[in-house]
Amino acid sequence: MRLVPRETDFSGWLRSPRVAARVGVWLGVCFGVAFITGLISHVAYEPPGWLTFPTRPVSLYRITQGTHVVAGTMAVPLLLVKLWVVYPKLFAKVPWGDVRRLVVHGLERASIAALVAAAIFQLVTGLANSSQWYPWGSFSFRDMHYAVAWVAIGSLALHVAVKLRIARAALASDVNSGDPVGGVPDVEAPADSSHGLTRRGLLRTTWVAAGLAGLSTAGISVPWLRDVSIFGIRSGDGPQGVPINQTAVEARVTAAASKASYRLEIVNGATRRRLSRADLEAMPQRTEVLPIACVEGWSASAEWGGVRLRDLLAVVGAPSESVVAFVSLEEDGAFNTSELPAQFSDDPLTLIALRLNGADLSIDHGYPCRLIAPARPGVFQTKWLSRIEVVA
């Protein structure tokens, strides 16, 4: 008995280029959507100088990041079925005797290896990160997920380029046909399911699995789907009706945030003001409905009350369209500071929030005060503010 099978050992009508191409189209759509929405998230995190991230719609990041996570989740069944269909190719005969064909064969295998490795890596790290699970040791999720996204989309484009002829022929022909497509042999498949799953049956099952995968998660950003999203990382509920990403205990700010001597420092060059929470409450109050939307894909809309950032910046004579740095009481942590681009600091909806859904901010939501701006990733909505400084 051979331990390693041959490509020809795999039989059945389901492992066909006609099935692979049809699943591949939707897998490509999911990866394309995840890639584009991922780029948007990347730009929101690290805006390049030449690009101004828009402040409207206020739900922009909520929509793009929710879509990103759902597209990646839906890709899981699609990728598994696609890889199962083409699995025998792993054992394809290597043309050892012919150097030219050996090189072509080797290059194609290398590009497929890059594609499969990158695709699995993106889905595994993405799903883990979405549930705030970081099973890897030291590498930065953001650096790697971003770099491998380019490798995945690049090797996908390369794969489509190599397979274009076969894929087009496969898609254009009847799904049950046994005619060779683009030089690849195929077998006639039964149209009725009395012998087991048909090609159409497998395709429909795959669409159902992808749809269920999406539904089981989408409720993290689509409120009316919450009840069916059995695998959603958050139900959308939490203290004051809004989930929490980082608690005061984790950030170790409980003592500093509860002190009566708390003051918010506002700095513009040599001009400094120190305001107590009572001072902030005495300023004109605004109420805005804005979402909090995180990289994990979850989001929730809420009614925030507080002082317009513009009004606060006017206190220290900052010009409009200032770039503003926010410093948290949290002493360490990757996101204890954030920098707000000019278009957001100038936006009338951007608040230094004191209240959430009609009550004072709870300490886990950022008491004494926090930043809330439209269309921004949640980690930049700095909580437990200690200092606001005009930097440019």
Binding site: W136, G154, L158, A209
Partner: protein
């Protein structure tokens, strides 16, 4: 079509090169670790997920009556892929004790409901297939 292939292939290579270039400042140890994860994913799939699936299919093909093969295979695709997808929440690996709003669902109960629905679907499908066979 040739032109499309060449342009698409060129863009693909450029994208791969750009992705690798973004890692130029990353520590070697992090790159090694990420490479292990990249390779590990492929190995876990090719040497574990697919062989287990193949073995299950081999057994099912011999054990199941003909009318049940299709429905069981379909049920396996749905439940198997969604279970793999749900590992991070089913295991609650990212849970933080001080944050009850994270991973705040009963995921195992959700999985049981899904498994129950799939089982009902497989049963109904098998009954329909059997009736067709008898006729």
């Amino acid at each position: 079509m040739r032109i499309v292939q060449v342009v698409l292939g060129g863009l693909g290579l450029a994208a791969i090169a750009f992705g690798l270039w973004t890692l130029r400042a990353v520590d070697l140890s992090d790159l090694v670790e990420a490479s292990l994860w990249l390779a590990g994913g492929v190995l876990a799939h090719d040497l574990l997920v697919t062989p287990v699936t193949l073995a299950a299919a081999w057994v099912a093909w011999r054990v199941l009556p003909r009318y049940a093969r299709g429905p069981v295979a379909a049920g396996f695709v749905v439940l198997g892929s969604l279970t793999l997808m749900a590992i991070p929440v089913l295991g609650r690996f990212g849970a933080i004790p001080s944050d009850p709003s994270l991973l705040d669902r009963d995921y195992r109960a959700g999985w049981l409901v899904l498994a129950g629905l799939v089982a009902v679907g497989v049963l109904l499908g098998s009954v329909v297939m059997r009736r067709r066979e008898v006729r």
